[in-house]
């Protein structure tokens, strides 16, 4: 086990981005100090560590801050070589980077978009989300392995993994249905396997607390979108 001396993680209890980093640190057996930030009352320290976005997660290693969850994952994998998250082969690595970006931009973001929007926009967003899931299902089937990373959890699994425990909440808050298990048997199986891992399932936020948070957050996002439109 690594010494706690050098590693700090600034997070927020419900942040799927901070969760990605927690998973990576746990899978590699890296000890770290966790600092909980309040999204609605950010500490001056966080704003100093991440002056561009002022967001979590921020990983601080040997006093140096790194922001953006996917970039933090790449950093962790480069520094701590045990339980590698990315493959060694350059082509396989390129595929992992590609699908991680897809998981974040097309899969996770489209679900949130569908949750927060209404009317025609909601219908469009749900359609996009389902299309993204179809691509994801196809890729999983093509690989034919338990996880994107192979037989063990890897980079793409961690980036996509937030949908495993947050999707049901987003669906309920947004009154949408995206993950039909008969239509997406591969993704459904992948989610089961992913959540079955003790380090993945450990310490996830409570479902009712997530529901309350996203109900409020969904209205906030919808309001922000509307006010931008009037400017």
């Amino acid at each position: 086990m690594e010494e706690a001396g050098g590693v700090k993680l600034f997070g927020f209890w419900v942040s799927p981005f901070a969760q990605r980093v927690k998973w990576a640190l746990k899978l590699k057996g890296i000890q770290y100090e966790y600092i909980e930030e309040d999204k609605y009352n950010k500490s001056p320290l966080l704003l100093k560590l991440n002056p561009v976005y002022g967001k979590v997660p921020v990983l601080v290693h040997n006093g140096k801050p790194i922001s953006e969850s996917i970039i933090i994952l790449e950093y962790i994998d480069a520094v701590w070589k045990q339980a590698p998250l990315l493959p060694q082969d350059p082509y396989e690595r390129a595929q992992a980077h590609f699908w991680a970006k897809f998981a974040e931009e097309k899969v996770r973001q489209s679900v949130v978009e569908a949750m927060c929007s209404s009317g025609d926009e909601k219908q469009k967003a749900v359609k996009l989300a389902v299309e993204a899931f179809e691509e994801f299902e196809k890729e999983l089937k093509r690989r034919g392995t338990k996880f994107f990373g192979g037989e063990t959890i890897g980079f793409v699994d961690i980036v996509a993994g937030c949908i495993s425990y947050q999707l049901p909440v987003h669906e309920e808050v947004g009154s949408i249905k995206i993950l039909d298990s008969s239509k997406f048997p591969g993704i459904s199986e992948w989610i089961r396997n992913f959540l079955n891992h003790p380090l993945i399932n450990e310490g996830l936020p409570q479902k009712d607390q997530m529901f309350a948070y996203y109900s409020k957050r969904s209205k906030e996002i919808a309001y922000q979108k509307m006010s931008h439109k009037t400017v």
Binding site: V52, S67, I71, Y75, Y91, R93, A94
Partner: protein
């Protein structure tokens, strides 16, 4: 005739395609450039990038690699015996990747928003955001270059490629809006960098002439205005 079976599907005026060309040149890799018509996508493009149907796509043998940042990193990792593009230190790599993501996710999209900006107020606000970004890049450059010519130090690196690809478009937009984006008084280090970058032999001749980009920009703006009126 290219000896290592590398093909690039792209269009000469695409800054994302230009990034890949820079990287291939830096590593002295021969390749075949296959121009694509994005308004009538080829079978080859649709087969090589079925998910996004977009350029650039690098075809290495029969393997397609998509997304300009992914391709540049692939080139750096596969042809590891050529000059390094990404920094070797993991922390410096993280910083380079952070700013690359900012450029692609925040900064370049400001220009895209400009194409559909309806009034002077929103255009001014976007120009302010672009200039703010350039001030960030000035600071990043001063820290990363350590007194040398490039973000990568003595040689062209990842961030040089990611930002440098947009220099032509930045000039074209500057003419369009009558704004001097790279101002010697405000971002002197970046002005110097732009000169060093553009004249480097791996870079020179890839980005189309500003007149050509300005001409294309007029077409883009006309199309956007047309779409908005429908």
């Amino acid at each position: 005739m290219p000896t290592n079976d590398v093909k690039l599907l792209g269009a000469p005026a695409s800054q994302y395609v230009n990034r890949v060309q820079f990287a291939l040149n830096l590593k002295s890799i021969d390749y075949e450039f296959i121009p694509q018509n994005m308004r009538e996508k080829s079978e080859l493009l649709l087969k090589s990038n079925p998910v996004h149907k977009n350029i650039p796509v690098l075809l290495h043998g029969d393997k397609p690699i998509c997304d300009s940042l992914v391709i540049v990193q692939y080139i750096d990792e596969f042809w590891f015996d050529g000059p390094s593009i990404l920094p070797s230190d993991p922390y410096d790599r993280a910083i380079a990747r952070f700013w690359a993501a900012y450029i692609d996710d925040k900064w370049i999209p400001f220009f895209k928003e400009l194409t559909t900006a309806k009034d002077e107020e929103s255009k001014t606000a976007l120009v302010e955001k672009i200039l703010e970004g350039l001030k960030f890049f000035e600071d990043v450059f001063v820290k990363a270059s350590k007194g040398k010519c490039f973000f990568g130090g003595e040689t062209i690196g990842f961030l040089d490629i990611v930002l440098g690809c947009y220099l032509g478009w930045l000039k074209a937009w500057g003419i369009q809006l009558d704004v001097n984006f790279l101002d010697e008084a405000k971002t002197p280090a970046l002005v110097g960098w732009a000169e060093s970058f553009s004249s480097d032999k791996a870079i020179h001749g890839i980005i189309p002439e500003t007149e050509e980009l300005f001409r294309i920009l007029q077409i883009i703006l006309a199309r956007a205005a047309d779409a908005a009126s429908k």
